[in-house]
Amino acid sequence: MGLTRRGFFKTLGVAGATLAIGSEAGAGRLGSTTIEYYGILHDGTRCKGCRGCEFDCAEAHGLPEPVKKVPDIRKTDETRNTVINTYKTSRGEVFIKRQCMHCNEPACVAACLTKAMHKTVVGPVTWDGDKCMGCRYCMVSCPWDMPKFEYHSANPRIQKCDMCYSRLKTGEQPACAFNCPNDALLYGKRRDLIREAHRRIFEKPGLYHDHVYGEHEAGGTGWLYVAPVPFEQLGMNTTLQQASYPALTKGFLYSVPTIFVLVPALLLGIQQATKNDANNGEEEEDE
């Protein structure tokens, strides 16, 4: 399922055009416009745990080369955007790739007060060092703890998977998906990937646990997972809410304009109403 450079730009153009038309046609149309996010499907039944993607990722992002011998379970950090974790399950060893999930509605993007975190129309969530002020609110908000901060630098950056956005812009695939020797990583339109994931589960129900992780978690994510065992056995958080995380602050943010209009008017009214009473009372030095 390759994506040619031309095809890619075509999609981009279409997405851009529909966005523009959608906003002109009003909110009613906007829901039906199609922004096609791209994503990657990780198949836990195919991944052999070779960790080739870790090396490709490090090379593509100029990060230090991963060490050869590693413990089974690790976390990503400021020196590695992705890790392959090994879990011993009832179905034998299962390997799971961890990295930024590229949510449809990312908490980190909603959290960012400088728009340094940005959800591109293609799908990747990217970070812009010229805007970021290093407040780390994205890290507080991310349900997966994926943004990582360079604590030991005087000019610290946020490190996380950016789905090789610079490669996507030149029409290439993300390094990990492009180089995976076992077809465990599939890059494509998120919509197609979900269909493909369900097809695999449907065709081989004995092989897969019936759940596409990332289809609904946190409002849907760019990275999708299918695996032979339930995901809680693979260190994936399955207690996350299905709704998007930015929705949690929506109520508060929506109350802001209301308060800004009502409270000053109310205060002014009370102030005017009590002013005369005070003047009738004892005279004191006034301010």
Partner: protein, 417 residues
């Protein structure tokens, strides 16, 4: 805190006038910047080394990164500096908006004598504790980005909080500015500035409503990370309601100290009024604490977390709610009826401890309570925090010893009506 022990000469003589020319203004300012009073006092001897050490640590932090002096991790990116300095510090600064509301909006003249010191306290708290935020920013040179408008992250609660901090500092500066004008003897400026007070107060109260609750709303997206006994969608409401009694308890606490340390500056009339003021504040504290306790109870029942009560964190929650909300509330009720000033102060201190507990429980203690390795602030984070507080107290003292904050304004102010 030492007292200068003597009243400023300026107070009784005719203050210098701006019209007299620039030379005398500079002379006056140079005189004002000279230190006053005894230097070798216990407070100075403790605070100076801490401030110097804090300065060294801040230099290290900017050279080697935040990780060099803090225990923050990838999972716990906000620690003591945010949880205590900013979130708790701003709650304690809430007294300014409550007192200005009472005095300027409700026209409760009884509390007029504490407006200036409360606004000063609030203003300095914002400058220093929100200023402490800069230490915590990894890339502070970009702090201007959300302000100048090349990248407005309007969907962010932090965007709202940052802007409100900034605007509220200006509002408080305007509220306080007549005092500065009186100090400089500038009659014209005082007239103009005091005309802006009501507008600044209304604006300031609105801003406070939103950013006191906004500090709680910051944590709304950390839904699974905060212990369920402290997380609910009502965190913003809780933070707002508790900021009322947090701020007023601070006013009681700070007022009690100021009345001892700066006793010489306070007029006889204001000294006598203090008991009545404390009693009134105690009543307000009791009322808001009752509302707060009831809200917490409602949220707890709706959360259906009975099973969690019998865990370690559950006992901790009960300690906070019963020992540091319910108990001081009862003390406030009782002491305001009996006019027992000592007990009012005790209740205020308990309440403040409870607010510190609550804010830290949300931001630090209950945040990632399930992690195998917990965050405990390093001694260096503590020293920097203390250094920030001490610096604030130094400035506070400097202002009070020079400007008519506690003492009566110069005589010419009365004619200016």
């Amino acid at each position: 805190m030492p007292t200068t022990g003597r009243r400023r000469k300026m107070n009784n003589t005719i203050p210098i006038n701006a019209d007299q020319g620039n030379r005398s203004v500079w002379k006056f300012l140079a005189g004002e910047f000279r230190p006053r009073g005894k230097f070798f006092t216990p407070f100075n001897m403790i605070s100076l080394p801490v401030m110097l050490l804090g300065l060294v640590l801040i230099v290290i932090r900017f050279m080697k990164g935040i990780g060099a002096i803090t225990n923050l991790t990838q999972e716990i990116p906000w620690g003591l500096w945010i949880g205590f300095d900013v979130v708790t510090g701003v709650a304690f600064a809430g007294g300014a908006y409550v007192i200005t509301f009472m005095v300027y909006i409700l026209n409760m003249r009884k509390y007029h004598s504490i407006v200036r010191i409360t606004v000063l306290n609030g203003f300095l708290a914002y400058v220093f504790y929100a200023g402490a935020l800069l230490l915590d920013l990894g890339r502070p040179w970009h702090v201007i980005n959300p302000v100048i408008g090349n990248s407005f992250g309007t969907s962010s609660v932090l965007f709202l909080v940052a802007w409100h901090f900034l605007l509220y500092m200006f509002a408080q500066l305007i509220e306080f500015s007549p005092v500065i004008a009186e100090w400089l003897g500038s009659r014209r400026a005082r007239k103009i500035l005091s005309g802006m007070t009501i507008a600044a107060v209304i604006f300031g109260i609105t801003l406070s409503t939103l950013h006191q609750s906004g500090l709680g709303a910051l944590y709304l997206m950390a839904k699974e990370k905060i212990h369920p006994l402290w997380y609910s969608e009502f965190i913003p409401v809780m933070f707002f309601v508790s900021s009322i009694f947090a701020g007023l308890s601070m006013v009681i606490f700070e007022g009690s100290i100021s009345h001892k340390v700066f006793a010489a500056q306070i007029s006889e009339k204001n000294h006598r009024a203090q008991g009545g003021i404390l009693q009134g504040l105690a009543k307000i504290c009791a009322g808001t604490m009752f509302a707060y306790f009831f809200l917490q109870l409602l949220v707890f029942i709706h959360g259906q977390h009975w099973n969690l009560l019998f865990t370690g964190m559950g006992c901790w929650f009960l300690t906070e709610m019963l020992g540091f909300v319910l108990l001081p509330m009862i003390l406030f009720v009782y002491s305001s009826r009996t006019r027992n000033v000592i007990m009012i102060r005790l209740a205020a201190i308990l309440t403040m401890a409870g607010v510190i507990l609550n804010r830290l429980n949300v931001t630090v203690i209950g945040f990632r309570w399930d992690m195998p390795v917990r965050y405990v602030p390093s001694w260096m984070e503590l020293v920097v925090t203390l250094a920030v507080i001490f610096t604030e107290i130094w400035i506070f003292r400097w202002v009070i010893n020079r400007m008519p904050v506690l003492k009566d304004p110069p005589a010419w102010v009365k004619d200016q009506k």
